[in-house]
Amino acid sequence: MSTVTTVVIPARSPIRRLWYAAPVLAVLLVLPWVAEQYQTILLAYGLVMAIAAIGFNLLLGYTGLLSFGHSAYFGVGAYAVALMVKYLGVVSMELHLLGAIAASVLVTAIFGIACVRYTRIFFSILTMALSQVLWSLAFKFFWVTGGTDGLRVPTPTLLGVVTGKGDKTAFLVHQYYYYVLGVFLVCVAIMWVIVNSPFGRALQAIRDNETRAQFVGIPIWRYRWVAFMLSGVFTGVAGALWVPLNGLTTPDILHWTFSGKIVFMAVLGGFRTFVGPIVGAVVYNYLESYAVGYTVYWQLFLGVILVVLVLSLPTGIVGTAERLMARRRGPR
């Protein structure tokens, strides 16, 4: 090429963003030492849901597909753990995670083949229907899954050494909290690389314009399928991590209303940004816990709060915050 121009370095400077993350990380690290136990456990739940939400958002925010069936993959991850304990006597958390990953790859690979041919509402309905199939299977095969009673799961062994024998709360608040935090950070890092990879750009291109994506040579169905699997695997990992916190797997986590929560987290935090779903998951988790604590009409109460939040912050918490910060820096 004859024209000589200088390279334009893409505007998003990823390194600068890490500086914003540093204080947040510091808070996350010291929290178990300063906060009440209940707060730490709540945050652990929040981080787990955040993993599910960033997985979900690979489809919604980056590929333009609204899944209403992510409860399926969360549930597959959780039940994979419970069944490994029940039938194989596996107590290692690392093996639980591997098992959850394998199970969610399998399920998403199959569900994905059916779903990725569709977009918009058709995709949403199909994903929801498939998750409801799993939900009803969890009842039908109650001798395997424990039906509505669910399956009780004892605390796992972490890294082959740390066990939860003795004070379970102390285990959850310290060892397990840090374990969740570690997995969370790894998941965030991997997802961040994925969305910023050439593959991630291709997904965004598919989101923006399917036809044109096809005409730059991107095999759209195959890429959507891969995104579908990746998305489900992250959510499956979240499901596995959730089990020790809850101590029990029940079919509620397979129900479509649970998928709705994941959707809400992403929208609340802002699905157009990378960190939005993380913030949304943590905030939603607090909102829900406090709503349950304050009133028996918590679902109504929560519903109203969420409607108000979404109406007043249409780009989500993070989207709104970014806009405010940009405004403060002055017009550009």
């Binding site: 090429m1 024209t3 121009t5 200088t6 390279v7 334009v8 370095i9 893409p10 505007a11 998003r12 990823p14 991997i190 690389v193 994925i194 910023n196 990879s197 050439p198 593959f199 991630g200 750009r201 291709a202 965004q204 291109a205 989101r207 923006d208 314009n209 036809t211 044109r212 994506a213 096809q214 005409f215 730059v216 040579g217 991107i218 095999p219 890429y223 891969v226 990746l230």
Partner: protein, 259 residues
Amino acid sequence: MSVLLETKAVVKQFGEFRAVDRVDFRVQEGEVLALIGSNGAGKTTLVNLISGLLTADEGHILFRGHDVTKQPVKERIRAGIARSFQLVNLFDQLSALDNVALAIFSRQGKTRRLLSLADADRPVWQEATDVLALFRLDAHARTLAGGLSQGERKLLDVAIAYALKPKLLFLDEPTSGVGTREKAPIMDTIVSVVRSEGISAAIIEHDMDVVFSYSDRIVAMHQGTILADGTPDQIRRDEKVLTTLIGTPEPPRPSQGGG
């Protein structure tokens, strides 16, 4: 000159209606060809068949001697057929630079990489920057494609196709919807790029001034068939073309018409 692309009696039918009716169409290596014809003549449909957006009901399409009639879009692109769109087709939430870079990543087979950072691939960004400069879009590299003006969008649409390094480029009305004064600069830019790189181009265009001044050869379509085929001089004097196309004033067109 050798034949780059050849269609043999291709047919496309929409229900009972034949939008493309046994068309034999050729593009020679290195030429800039204009495809003309009134609204609904079947120009876009023909390009859709060749580029793979639609599949032909009958007939064959040969590209560099190979039958591509049934090949998927991806294979045709790899073989060297690229196109732009009559209605601009961009990645609106990506920057102009990202739009072009994506085509380059795809051409190089790099979109499969999911554990490396796109931004770290300097040669791709250098090339994308160069392509934007060729199309005089370098000032808008960071602008989201959705925020560009119509003329810039048309150019970016062509730039994306160009970044695939095609041997044959189909441009479906590259100046539709832009003001009369903007047309010449856009065509100048596109044709100079195409000619300097030795790419063959087939340009669909309604503006006869543009057609006569930029093309080596003109193919006129009418009601799904080829009406005439010749040099600009021949076409200017062609009776059938004069009566069916040029003689009659064009019907008023909306700024973004057709399919």
